[in-house]
């Protein structure tokens, strides 16, 4: 064959780079587990001896697994109804719910955690105090220092991600499959149980498994709230997060490998479901989504569910931050506290936020570009290249979130050092962006895989049979049809990258301060109020960005499926004018394309 152009090789190359980066963190974790005192050049099993020498390893591991399941349970309890409401019903506030989910992404986990400690801790929790029932008053009403609470909190904050990941599958369920049951006399409820749920099954299982892996690795809640007994991620943190004393990357690596083993079982399940999911891809024919179903009386349940989630995940933390921003130090509301309220923290925050904000934006953009481009290539490889080995790629990428963030950061620092002479990225925000993008690959591939599987492969085949090369098919057929999935993934990545603390903290060498680390620095040094003010600014900016992103990229909904038309510049300009006009005059209805 002529080598006239690299062709589809570019996609393979990008996919390969993505896999390579993931392997850095995955194998970085494994390699350090065999190192001695963090010196990766020496091989040793000492870390494993130390790990297995711990008396509590068994209970810690068990608790870690429970944490994973608990998190998934609570996440599912809300994500499933929300995805259902968004994709299949006439719920009045669908746009609102979607915006809420996006807004939640902007709130950092540690803020949510702190606000719950503040309200529900057994000694001084405000809610407990309000009811006069604290630990020293005859038994606390609420005790947030429990595994159950942590599962609950982790679960509800993961809901937006869960919903975004499940939506494509819900949206693309072919209506005729259900209608076939209805016309045969099967009740709607029964149809849902026997037709719809099984068809959604692979997607739901995949999302659950993914968030199991996320759940066992989340740090903020476990660390800040804590509970009787540890989980593995705390041991990893301990090993690395000393401010004095010798390093113990090796131990962290060993514990991380145990975490892998736990997640590995989950991933094997997932790989099997991915294969099953391929069976459910619509074969030939066109997919018609089910018309929105009327909710009827159920809408009150829906309002309740959404309302509860709104209060629990957004209102509580935001009110907390606002209060903390107003008072000089952490304290419950009281007359004295109210007298000390001041707005000085807001002006201080404005003064300091400049450079970190710039870096945060670079970090966001960098992470999004890297994650989206690499993930798209990997998704293509896994779902459309018809390469038998491709599912290994998917499993490897899936492992990425199982690597604790701290370890990923360290691994990339080492990488940065190693390649410094070819690519002087070490110490810059760009290296952080690469690390962040790599961590986010899995979020993207999950969402994109689900969508890609719903796009019939015949569309690709039609292109090949018409003489179009694989690369051109990738660019002109695959990418445009994937646009919605790419968009949602990019949105997720952007938000998560902006608010993540652990990774920039680990990789900061002085020139790459971001907003999250600024908040951390302020908080660490007693400027809680300024920290809260900065956090508020960040949340507002992120929420605005997210809400406008949808408008700006011009996603149009046509007949239930989201498709981006090839826009001419004039189209785009008129869309902008439209948006501007509707902002100026909110009562004027926005002009849309063909029906919505």
């Amino acid at each position: 064959m002529q080598g006239r152009s690299f062709g589809i090789g570019w996609v393979y190359l990008l996919a390969g780079i993505g896999l390579f980066l993931v392997c850095i963190s995955v194998f970085g974790n494994v390699i350090t587990s065999f190192s001695e005192e963090g010196d990766v050049d020496k091989f040793s099993l000492a870390n494993y001896y130390e790990l297995f020498d711990q008396d509590t390893l068994g209970s810690v591991t068990g608790r870690t697994i429970l944490l994973g399941f608990g998190t998934v349970f609570w996440m599912f309890l809300f994500s499933f109804p929300f995805a259902w409401l968004l994709a299949r019903t006439d719920f009045r506030f669908r746009t609102g719910l979607f915006s809420l989910l996006t807004a939640k992404l902007a709130i950092p986990g540690f803020i949510t955690a702190m606000s719950y400690v503040w309200l529900f801790n057994p000694t001084s929790g405000l809610v407990n105090q309000f009811f006069g029932m604290t630990k020293f008053n005859g038994g606390a009403l609420f005790d947030v220092y429990q595994l159950g609470w942590i599962c609950f909190l982790q679960g509800i904050v993961l809901v937006p991600g869960g919903v975004f990941m499940m939506l494509p599958a819900f949206r693309n369920l072919d209506a005729s499959l259900e209608e076939a049951a209805w016309v045969s006399g099967v009740s709607k409820a029964h149809t849902i149980r026997r037709i719809v749920l099984p068809l959604l099954g692979p997607s739901m299982v995949a999302v659950s498994i993914f968030y199991f892996v996320i759940g066992v690795e989340m740090f903020d809640f476990v660390a800040i709230i804590g509970m009787p007994g540890d989980v593995l991620v705390m041991w990893i943190y301990d090993a690395i997060a000393e401010s004095d004393g010798p390093p113990n990357l090796g131990f962290a690596g060993a514990a991380g490998v145990v975490l892998f083993a736990i997640c590995g079982g989950a991933i094997v399940f997932y790989a099997r479901f991915l294969r099953q999911a391929k069976k459910y891809a619509v074969v030939g024919g066109k997919v018609r989504a089910t018309a929105p179903q009327p909710l009827g009386e159920l809408r009150w349940a829906a309002y309740g569910c959404v309302g509860f989630w709104l209060v629990a995940t957004i209102i509580v933390p935001v009110i907390t931050i606002i209060w903390v921003a107003l008072v000089p130090f952490f304290q419950p509301p009281s007359i004295a506290a109210l007298e000390s309220v001041s707005l000085s923290s807001f002006s201080d925050a404005l003064e300091w936020i400049g450079e970190p904000l710039k870096n945060t934006l670079i970090l966001m953009v960098g992470s999004v570009v890297i994650a989206a481009s690499l993930a798209t290539s990997i998704t293509w490889l896994v779902t459309r290249s018809q390469n038998g080995m491709a599912h290994w790629a998917d499993s490897i990428v899936f492992l990425a979130p199982a690597v604790p963030t701290i370890v990923t950061g360290v691994a990339f620092q080492f990488l940065g050092i190693a390649i410094f002479h070819w690519l002087p990225l070490f110490g810059t925000i760009w290296l952080v962006a690469i690390a962040m993008g790599t961590r986010m690959l899995a979020y993207c591939t999950r969402t994109m895989n689900a969508t890609s599987l719903q796009i019939q492969f015949e569309l690709d085949e039609a292109a090949y049979a018409s003489g179009v090369s694989k690369l051109d098919t990738f660019r002109r057929i695959f990418l445009p049809l994937m646009a919605p999935a790419i968009f949602y993934s990019a949105l997720m990545v952007g938000m998560l990258a902006a608010r993540d603390l652990t990774l920039p903290l680990v990789m900061n060498t002085g020139n790459s301060e971001v907003v999250a680390t600024l908040i951390f620095n302020l908080q660490t040094n007693g400027e809680q109020n300024a920290a809260a003010a900065v956090a508020l600014y960040m949340i507002v900016v992120l929420v605005l960005l997210a809400l406008f992103a949808r408008r700006i990229t011009g996603m149009q909904e046509i007949r239930g499926a989201e498709i981006v038309r090839r826009r001419s510049f004039r189209d785009w300009l008129s869309q902008l004018k439209n948006t501007a006009a509707s902002i100026a005059n909110p009562s004027r209805k926005q002009k849309h394309g063909y029906g919505e």
């Binding site: 030939g284 003489g467 038309r565 063909y594």
Partner: protein
């Protein structure tokens, strides 16, 4: 000159604990300008065959040659990918790209396909092909707003615009309503002939096959069981499967008595009957065979007195009106025989009638159970192997 040739093409699929043989050694030889039909029930391998020619599937053995060029050869591990073969394909689901309009769907392969045309040429070609299919004014329409028939035509236009050496069509009409199907199938055939475009058309619809094909290859279980012109396939089926698959056929078990290429005698439950052997197999006395006659060929006594060999007498069980005439069911010796007549009168149930099977229309064919071993091995050694148009 053969424009498409396959030799001993085999395809296998691995299931969990078994292997499916989709193609069991197919030899084809298709002339330039032929409208060639692959006909068969689902699962017979016709779609696998088509996709193998296209390069969308990889056979396990054999060779494929298109327009003189070898595009697949298992012995030398040669596999030319689909985008390098001089073909175009119309899919059953049309597979038109939903994010593009009509113009772009057709233009995209012209711009980025095997031959990259200049923009002006692209525009000319697209309007040409749209005009040809009566869609000249639909250039700007987004394809998802089109009806099924219109989408099908876009898919066809896309393929035609490429001016391929071979056009492959995978049941392109099956998603359309009947009237449209009937109208389009003739149009399609005429168009391909006019363009002198070699077409391989896969269908399970035998009426469509008979109407459009220059030659038909009837496939079953991965093998071609008969390859002939439509008339031959219809009137002289080589075996029970083909006989039953095409049109309606009265078919009965029988036992071979004697005969040669001019005529044979077989023993049936109606007694000894004479007919023509259309099977490639030579029967020996006592062999099982099947006797068949088309309902429209059976003579039934009415105004003209019938006489001659193959006379039967039976009772009318029913007369069903089918718009263009009647289908009478007559019981003879415990069997039901169906007769089709275009006359406008029914025959009363219970009436006794006399039937005659004209020997020239009566065929003796291989029974179905012998299909795999004998007819399949025979392959195309018999008629139609390399019949030029």
């Amino acid at each position: 000159m053969a424009i498409l040739e396959t030799r001993k093409l085999e395809a296998k699929f691995q299931l969990r604990d078994s292997v499916v043989h989709a193609l069991r050694g197919i030899d084809l030889y298709i002339e330039e300008g032929e409208f060639f039909v692959l006909l068969g029930p689902s699962g017979c391998g016709k779609t696998t065959m088509l996709r193998s020619i296209a390069g969308l599937e990889r056979p396990s053995a054999g060779a494929i040659r298109i327009d003189g060029e070898l595009v697949f050869d298992s012995s030398s591990h040669l596999f030319v990918p689909p985008n390098k073969r001089p073909i175009a394909m119309v899919f059953q689901s049309y597979a038109i790209w939903p994010h593009m309009n009509v113009f772009e769907n057709i233009a995209f392969p012209l711009r980025r396909g095997r031959v990259r045309m200049a923009e002006n040429d692209v525009r000319t070609r697209v309007s040409e092909v749209l005009e040809m299919l009566g869609m000249g004014d639909m250039s700007d329409r987004p394809v998802i707003t089109l009806s099924g028939g219109q989408q099908q035509r876009v898919a066809l236009a896309r393929a035609l615009a490429l001016r391929p050496r071979v056009l492959l069509m995978d049941e392109p009409l099956s998603n359309l309503d009947l009237k449209l199907q009937i109208r389009l199938r003739a149009q399609m055939r005429d168009l391909m002939h006019e363009l002198r475009l070699t077409t391989v058309h896969v269908t399970h619809n035998q009426a469509e096959a008979l109407e459009t094909g220059d030659r038909i290859a009837v496939m079953e279980q991965g093998k071609i069981v008969q390859l002939d012109a439509p008339q031959t396939i219809y009137h002289r089926p080589a075996n029970e499967f083909v006989a039953r698959f095409l049109g309606d056929m009265n078919i009965f078990s029988s036992r071979f008595q004697s005969g040669n290429s001019d005529g044979v005698t077989v023993e049936t439950s109606f007694g000894a009957l004479v007919g023509q052997s259309t099977s490639s197999r030579t029967f020996a006395a006592g062999d099982n065979c099947m006797l068949g006659i088309r309902p429209e060929d059976v003579e039934i006594d009415g105004s003209a007195a019938i006489d001659g060999p193959n006379l039967l007498e039976g009772t009318v069980i029913s007369s069903d009106y089918v718009g263009e005439g009647f289908v009478h069911t007559v019981a003879v010796a415990g069997e039901s025989i169906r007769i089709k007549r275009h006359h406008k009168e029914a025959i009363s149930t219970g009436d006794t009638v006399r039937l005659r099977f004209p020997p020239s229309q009566t065929v003796v064919v291989t029974p179905a159970e012998h299909l795999i071993s004998e007819d399949l091995e025979g392959g195309l050694a018999g008629e139609g192997a390399s019949r030029a148009g």
